[in-house]
């Protein structure tokens, strides 16, 4: 599903953030990406979401070389990847329903289809019945689950999560991780960046470890 082939990333003036990173994620695999702050975790995720492009090497998503992707193809590649963020990135002036519906509206789904899928997605994360609420009145754990519902609502084959439990207490964090496992079970490839070692160790999944831009354990 996802392949990094000798990928290096250099920011002007900051040197190499990633150095010769190579790994391969199978379809339906759940993997953690860990490492100290500044090890290059976020940069690695940005390459997959096409927020950045690598300086050297190749990133293949679903067989497609992301470096070759033209600008107008970028939105369509991003639709294959559900993104989840530490700060949830929800629109505060929209209801939970509208937040989750955004990817479907973007893809041009009709009203009924949007409604059906949003409900199904909210049901999966256990928030059915809170569609009309605004994110501000929800707890952190609930907001993150809205973020997850939004990431999975158009059934992407891959989910990327950047410190999804960074703002949550251990109990909620475990809950969120189990939610990810449920998506893995239906065949979604999941890559979670996290520095919460104890949580990662509990989960018993493959771990990629970055150290100063180099992959030190896989």
């Amino acid at each position: 599903m996802l392949e990094f082939d000798n990928v290096s990333m250099r920011y002007p003036g900051a040197g190499d953030v990633l150095r010769n990173v190579s790994f391969h994620l199978q379809r339906g695999e759940m993997t953690f990406l860990t490492g100290h702050s500044g090890a290059g975790k976020s940069t690695l995720l940005k390459l997959i979401a096409l927020i950045e492009r690598c300086s050297r090497g190749r990133v293949l998503l679903d067989g497609q070389d992301l470096n070759q992707a033209k600008d107008r193809q970028v939105p369509f590649i991003r639709r294959k990847v559900g993104l989840i963020f530490q700060d949830y990135k929800l629109l505060q002036d929209r209801t939970v329903f509208d937040n989750v519906a955004l990817p479907l509206v973007i893809a041009g789904y009709g009203h009924h289809e949007v409604s059906r899928r949003v409900r199904a997605s909210l049901d999966k994360v256990g928030l059915l019945g809170k569609e009309r609420k605004y994110p501000a009145v929800l707890s952190g754990g609930e907001q993150q689950r809205v973020g997850i519902a939004r990431a999975v609502v158009n059934k992407p084959p891959m989910i990327l999560a950047d410190e999804p439990t960074g703002n949550l207490d251990p109990e909620l964090s475990t809950e969120i991780m189990h939610l990810f496992e449920q998506f893995q079970q239906v065949g979604v490839t999941i890559l979670i960046a996290s520095h919460d070692i104890s949580l990662i160790n509990q989960m018993n999944h493959r771990i990629l470890k970055l150290d100063h831009g180099q992959l030190v354990a896989s």
Binding site: A49, I51, R72, P75, F76, I77, R78, R79, K80, L83, K89, L91, L102, P103, V105, I106, A107, G108, Y109, G110, H111, R150, N154, K155, P156, P157, V186, G187, V188
Partner: protein
């Protein structure tokens, strides 16, 4: 068996087997794509309108400012159209009137008219005798009664000369006029409608003025819309970034802003129409009263159907172009982080 229990057969609906977890990257067949496209446009159209209505105050202020600018140029336009109508009623001919000396007899005047007619540059010659002139004066001047009290007809014999149109050249006309002035029979010669020509030259300047003013105010409308949209874009920065992250195309991001520009332009056009029409209604009565005093030839012209359509079209287009300019230059800088 008489009684057979009717067995209810549960109809099993054939469920379309859909892959359980698959992304729809772009719609399937043409109909799907069309529906998706229509959905996107409907969404942008109404969401942009909804957002403008929600921000009533700033929306109203922008529209009023733009409406005043648009009303200024269309008001000036309709003013010129009215003046043009006035000038259009006056035929701009090069007719020359020759007022003959008092001691010239009608026979001599008629002979003089005959010689003028022989000039190849003259199209028409009309002799107005003293009696005809008096008759005309009685009918049209409103001083009929006063004329009756006169012992002697004070009016001179007049010869109206219409030069050929080929003699458009003003210099040639001047030469002809001077010739007439030197004639022994002529007391006084004047080009009748020269002031109409002057008016028409002024109108030409005014018409150009309207074009220039409209260009200037149009540019103003363009940049005011652009600035409004720029603020809107700034306010909705988070939304744009998030939409980009979940796979929005540039088209999807541009669309609501373009529609916002359209609505701003359109409503400004409507408001401008009302401003112009109300002003014209206020002016209508005194103008028509004045017109009534002058043979009733003048009627106030309002913005017609085509002009109204043009007004709405131009203001909507200015709105769309204004927002497009901003999107084109500003959205590139908005990169997701």
């Amino acid at each position: 068996m008489k009684y057979v229990k009717k067995k209810t057969v549960k109809q099993v609906k054939p469920v379309k087997q859909e892959p359980r977890w698959q992304t729809k990257i772009s719609g399937g067949n043409f109909v799907d794509k069309f529906h998706a496209y229509r959905n996107l446009h409907a969404h942008a159209l109404f969401s942009s309108l909804g957002r403008l209505v929600a921000s009533r105050f700033s929306f109203a202020m922008t529209v009023v400012v733009l409406a005043i600018a648009i009303a200024l140029s269309s008001g000036f336009y309709i003013l010129v159209a009215n003046l043009q109508q006035l000038a259009g009623n006056l035929e701009a001919s090069n007719q020359i009137s020759l007022f003959l000396k008092d001691d010239i007899s009608e026979a001599r005047a008629s002979k003089f008219a005959g010689t003028i007619k022989q000039n190849p540059d003259i199209q028409e010659v009309k002799l107005i005798t003293k009696e005809q002139a008096l008759q005309e004066f009685r009918e049209h001047s409103g001083f009929g009664e006063a004329v009756k009290t006169l012992e002697k007809n004070p009016l001179p014999i007049v010869i109206q000369v219409l030069p050929k149109n080929s003699l458009e050249n003003d210099q040639a006309l001047e030469v002809m006029l001077d010739d007439f002035k030197r004639s022994a029979e002529v007391d006084f010669a004047q080009m009748d409608m020269q002031w109409v020509k002057r008016l028409q030259s002024i109108m030409e300047i005014a018409r150009r003025g309207v074009v220039l003013l409209s260009l200037l105010l149009g540019a103003g409308v363009l940049f005011i819309t652009a600035n409004t949209i720029r603020l809107e874009l700034h306010n909705r920065r988070d939304e744009v970034v998030i939409a980009k992250l979940v796979g929005a195309t540039n088209g999807f991001i541009h669309r609501p802003f373009l529609y916002s520009g359209f609505w701003i332009g359109f409503f400004s056009g409507v408001a401008a129409w009302f401003i112009v029409t109300i002003i014209m209604l206020i002016l209508k009565q005194p103008i028509e009263k004045l017109s009534g005093l002058y043979d009733d030839t003048f009627h106030v012209v309002f913005l017609g159907f085509t002009e109204t359509l043009a007004l709405l079209f131009i203001s909507s287009v200015l709105g769309v172009v204004g927002s497009w300019i901003v999107l084109h230059f500003q959205l590139r800088q908005l990169k997701p982080e």
